[in-house]
Symmetry: C2
Subunit: 704 residues, 2 copies
């Protein structure tokens, strides 16, 4: 029971639900058709089915999520993960169904890394014997594992880790040891409290040599009672900005002995007795998993942007503020405040985010297709796709997760004060999202890999062109294509003479391609001719990677609408089901995304020589015009098409029905501080100041 | 007792404390002298004195701050605020001492708004009678108040609030009422649980007319026992992204009657009986307080940037990662990883933030001086400074708080994974800081006020110049000066021919002035000639305000180092005490700030026509060179000069002594989840999966 009760009064007119109905009535396309384009029928049907199973299960109840302290939240997350395992076993879920349910529940839990890192690591590095011993029990959740790579003093540079695994020929064992405090395993999700096994990365030492980091699967807690095994110390690393429902843990080893089979031996091994090291056949194979994880993070970015944009856009259609004097809104005869979504600044803050989310939908699907294609190719010994896919997945992880973290925060701020309330759903979402910019390769460090690939491609292309044997038919990927176009004419100028011409996708791609290629050329010159150090060029390398990846996003958006993106075998092209109105609406977003991408960083485009001053002004006009006349009427339709159930949003202000203020006040009554009318602490900390003598009667008020 | 114990092992070499000592040894200037330049002796002496009082008082203990749930944190904050009041009474603190102590304790508490909004509102709007009745008891903390302006449906637009205060001639009372759910008071700091009085903004209705929002000081909770008074309902609005130690509250009124004296009547009043409204003499007077609050927020921005930069810079000098192959570091004969602060990207992420913090130190002091000068002027009827001060304080609040929020998050990310840990001190700091971009005028809305002033100034200047009577000696403020320079020669080109020439402050100011003025000219043309609507220009108006305020920051930085910023009466110019080495170091920062400000948004400078492509490349080179050779050696000195005690930072990784990993692991042992070895929930949620039959012995491990 809450001591806080709100009056039985409606919000003042117009009502949020009426406003959203009006918005929906003027949407020019079919929202369901658009959702189907984004997700496919299978996803949408599955979502309805899973939601029905989950929504009313008390283990997945979200009504207390914003109020609990960490220990309570962790216990609830443990219960949630347990129930999810049971449900998945009962319904025999596929991995896709499990992930989809997990997305709907939307709470990083203690078993998350078991599924997303521990099992994939085992799957890719176990021998057949190890599959029986480790992977199969893990799939049944008898073994619950974590992936222990990062150390207190060592993150991005895996080669720098200090934990050792020394082979002891006498007993055919490894001695796992933590030589320094900095070698303590740290940040390991699921390790703090839940896991009973760990894949530990440690320096393999044998026969007097150090062979660098290798993976070992070892027990850390007793299978009988979950106590720590002798020689292992572990615990939780404490509170974080987000992810507090996961037990990120720390661990150290005191000459902990494990049998030789602990070394995951699909690729490299130790000969028993002699301890001779057997080298892996091809170290490129491990890149596959990284590509998968990074491609998944592009998907996570589009999810984050879409979700935040849904909340902020709906709320902005309902929230009214000031009167736009040039165009006042009326309700009957009365002038009322203007919905904030009608202000050009609010549109400029939100609509490019909606467009970016759509852009990332198409690119995340394309990255997944390329991942699977490359995996298939590599299995048959063809590594031709690997470099390009690895470079673009690294760069796109960096670009899109930086975009998404900024977008979620921008959406939060665009909701004014209410975006700061947990009830908006945005703070927790942001806090759980932001580690994406750091993990799986820090966004700044990661771009060096993309840069290396671009410079190598450029140098090879230049050499080929000089050799006299070059034919443009040799160009077999889009990166080489735009680099070659630039080399054909480095002084190309944009032919646009009116703002509407920037809707031409060929112009957009030419601008983005020329800018990226000119930056590549300039950096290669600095490195190769001016002999600048790599370190001194890091800022430029970051910038060129962003430029390259922005081009990929725009390109895939354009191709995707046209139906010109390849699809995995047996998958119908989603563009085939698009009506003309949907295609037009998508083209509006694609134009906005491309033009805004250019317009917000005009410097590089001007310096590349392709655009001139006048073009920047034209782009600005074209963007404002497009947003006001084409995007604004469809804004609610665009975010409705993201198809987030209210259960996922968990937001008072982003609800589908628009009952913002009713939901918000109801949530406030549940705040634990409102359980009592007079706060705990009044007697000790307020009364001694305000009524120290304990006077009866309304002493102070009598002064009035 | 924690179940988590770390080994008695040191971090691997080199030790953090040694690294910081080496950094400090090569600082070229006196850190104490630099601190004195920033803060003055009075502040530094006061800090030592207050810290000694506070640091070991259990009421101000920070060791549990990162672990508590909201209700516990709120209770601790109540205790903290209570103790602070008692301490201030015991030691007869001045307001400056109180604020300084509050900054050191660094936790927004339930009495914060009493001091920062309630009492100032009373002080500026009370009659002499009301000072006795309200302000004096408030100063003694008998009355604890809050400032209730914002409503659930109404934020930035104060004119839109819906709460009514209807004068009842029969009883000489006001009837305070909440007509709609949207009229519920919302976000009011201190209202949720602590306050017994409120200054309520409500629409004054009398004699059949609505006179818009007016301030009323009314009791809301009983002075006897703190229960809510009949007709008032109030409570806490629930958890937020930050500020959870403050009880932001909500409130609604059911025809709540208060006597006429509740209307704060210094400027306007009601005649008893007739209810006739007596108008305020000059509504400009209320702008003074806004200027004060916004100038304070510039100070808060520099505080946030400086503090985050201190943590991230110290940690980056200790954290090592990868080997810079072109310039490997050695320890004895061993190649060791390179400190991340030696990478140009890390320098580019952090050093401009250090420079921006220094810039904001100078501008925040200058804004405070102007506030006091303007106040003095207004008291004698001189309103000549008001428009400029109001415009620049609005724009600077917007610019600097946006910069600071980004800077804190950038510093957090620059600490890699450990920046995500609460123990870094950065997440909580960010969460408590970010409302600054929304409150006291949303950063996007606020800039319209600055824009209006700029356009008006420009139009008047153009008219004066056309009138033929114009003389440049009429230019009496820096805004008119740069607008006039532009009008003298709109086609001016930058004469710089080598990168070092960008160290010339006149060139920096010319570039910033030409860019801002050309944007003003373009917008005025769009509004006046092309007849574009105000709404359609909001993005440009925001951009021009940022450009204008960046110029102010650069200008004050340059003038401040030279000793050419005016000082308040009786205050010695802090630049007078600067030695040549300190001046040189400050000039390095000033150059970095100016050049980076231009270089990160080159588009507007290119479009203004002042800079050409080649200049952008020169600026880039100059920035990288300056950072590597001049800023890097002094980086630790620059942040040490911010003089934040470890007590304020509350950061494992930003400590003065560099014992990062030792402090970090010690903090982890205090995590409540580590109190037990086996987690609460194991029996219900883990064991049924991993050992459902309750088998004894290490059953699973026997498989190994």
């Amino acid at each position: 029971m809450s001591a806080l009760r709100f009056p039985n009064l409606p919000p003042s007119e117009p009502q949020g639900s009426d406003l959203l109905s009006q918005e929906r009535a003027r949407t020019t396309f079919s929202v369901h058709e658009m959702s189907t384009f984004l997700y496919g029928e299978v996803h949408l049907e599955r979502q309805d089915r899973l939601l029905a199973l989950i929504e009313n299960d008390p283990a997945f109840d979200k009504s207390n999520r914003y109020f609990r302290g960490r220990s309570d939240r962790f216990r609830a997350a443990l219960r949630k993960d347990h129930t999810l395992v049971k449900l998945s076993q009962k319904h025999k879920w596929t991995p896709e169904e499990y992930s989809h349910a997990d997305m709907l529940i939307d709470e990083p839990g203690p078993f998350g890394l078991h599924r997303n890192m521990f099992m994939p690591a085992l799957a890719s590095q176990c021998t057949d014997e190890q599959i029986e011993k480790f992977l199969k029990p893990a799939m049944r959740y008898e073994i619950i594992g974590c992936y222990a790579q990062t150390e207190l003093g060592h993150g991005s540079n895996v080669q720098g880790i200090e934990t050792t695994a020394t082979y002891i020929p006498e007993t055919d064992e490894f001695d796992i040891h933590t030589p320094y405090l900095t070698a303590s395993k740290w940040w390991i999700g699921g390790l703090g409290k839940a896991a009973n096994h760990a894949v530990v990365m440690a320096r393999l030492r044998t026969a007097g040599k150090d062979f660098g980091p290798h993976a070992f699967c070892i027990p850390i807690r007793s299978m009988e009672d979950h106590t720590l095994l002798p020689g292992v110390m572990a615990g939780d690393i404490g509170p974080k900005m987000g992810y507090n429902t996961t037990d990120n843990g720390c661990m150290w080893f005191d000459h902990y002995r494990v049998p030789r089979i602990s070394l995951l031996a699909k690729f490299s091994n130790i000969k028993p007795g002699s301890g001779e090291y057997v080298k892996p056949p091809n170290d490129k194979l491990s890149y596959g998993t990284m590509v998968f994880v990074r491609a998944s993070l592009v998907g996570a970015a589009r999810h984050g942007m879409a979700r935040a944009a849904t909340i902020a856009t709906r709320y902005s259609a309902i929230r009214r503020q000031f009167v736009d004097k040039d165009s006042p809104k009326k309700l009957g005869n009365q002038i009322i405040e203007t919905p904030v979504l009608d202000y050009s600044m609010q549109q400029y803050r939100l609509f490019p985010i909606i467009a970016a989310a759509y852009a990332c939908f198409l690119t995340s699907k394309e990255m997944m297709r390329l991942y699977h294609l490359n995996l298939k190719n590599m299995a048959s010994g063809d590594f031709s796709l690997l470099a390009d896919v690895h470079a673009s997945s690294s760069g796109l992880k960096s670009l899109t997760s930086t975009m998404a973290a900024a977008a979620i925060e921008d959406c939060r701020r665009a909701c004014g004060g209410h975006g700061f309330s947990s009830f908006s759903g945005l703070p927790l979402m942001l806090q759980d999202y932001v580690p994406n910019v750091t993990w799986e390769g820090d966004n700044y460090i990661l771009t060096q890999q993309t840069g290396r690939y671009l410079f190598k491609s450029f140098r090879e292309l230049v050499a080929k062109r000089k050799s006299g044997k070059f034919q443009s038919t040799q160009i077999n990927n889009p990166t080489l294509a735009y680099l070659n176009t630039y080399l054909e004419n480095p002084n190309l100028k944009c032919p646009v003479t009116s703002s509407a011409q920037f809707h031409n996708p060929e112009i957009q791609l030419a601008a983005l391609g020329h800018r990226a290629a000119s930056m590549v050329a300039q950096i290669v010159h600095a490195l190769d001719v001016e002999k600048r150090t790599w370190n001194s060029m890091l800022v430029d390398i970051y910038n060129v990677t962003m430029a390259h990846c922005q081009l990929i996003l725009v390109q895939n958006f354009i191709l995707g609408i046209r139906g010109d993106l390849a699809q995995p075998d047996g998958v119908e092209n989603p563009a085939a089901g698009l009506s003309a109105t949907s295609k037009e609406a998508l083209t509006d977003l694609s134009n906005l995304f491309a033009m805004h991408t250019i317009h917000k960083q005009p410097g590089e485009f001007l310096i590349s020589g392709y655009l001139q001053d006048k073009h920047i002004a034209m782009l600005g006009e074209s963007i404002m015009d497009l947003m006001e006349h084409k995007i604004r009427p469809n804004a609610i339709g665009f975010v409705d098409a993201f198809a987030f159930p209210d259960f996922v949003l968990n937001s008072a202000i982003g609800r589908f029905d628009g009952k913002v203020y009713e939901a918000y006040t109801e949530m406030a009554t549940r705040e634990p501080l409102n359980k009592t009318e007079v706060v705990d602490g009044y007697e000790e900390f307020i009364k001694p100041l305000t009524n120290p003598k304990g006077l009866k009667g309304h002493t102070m008020q009598s002064r009035l």
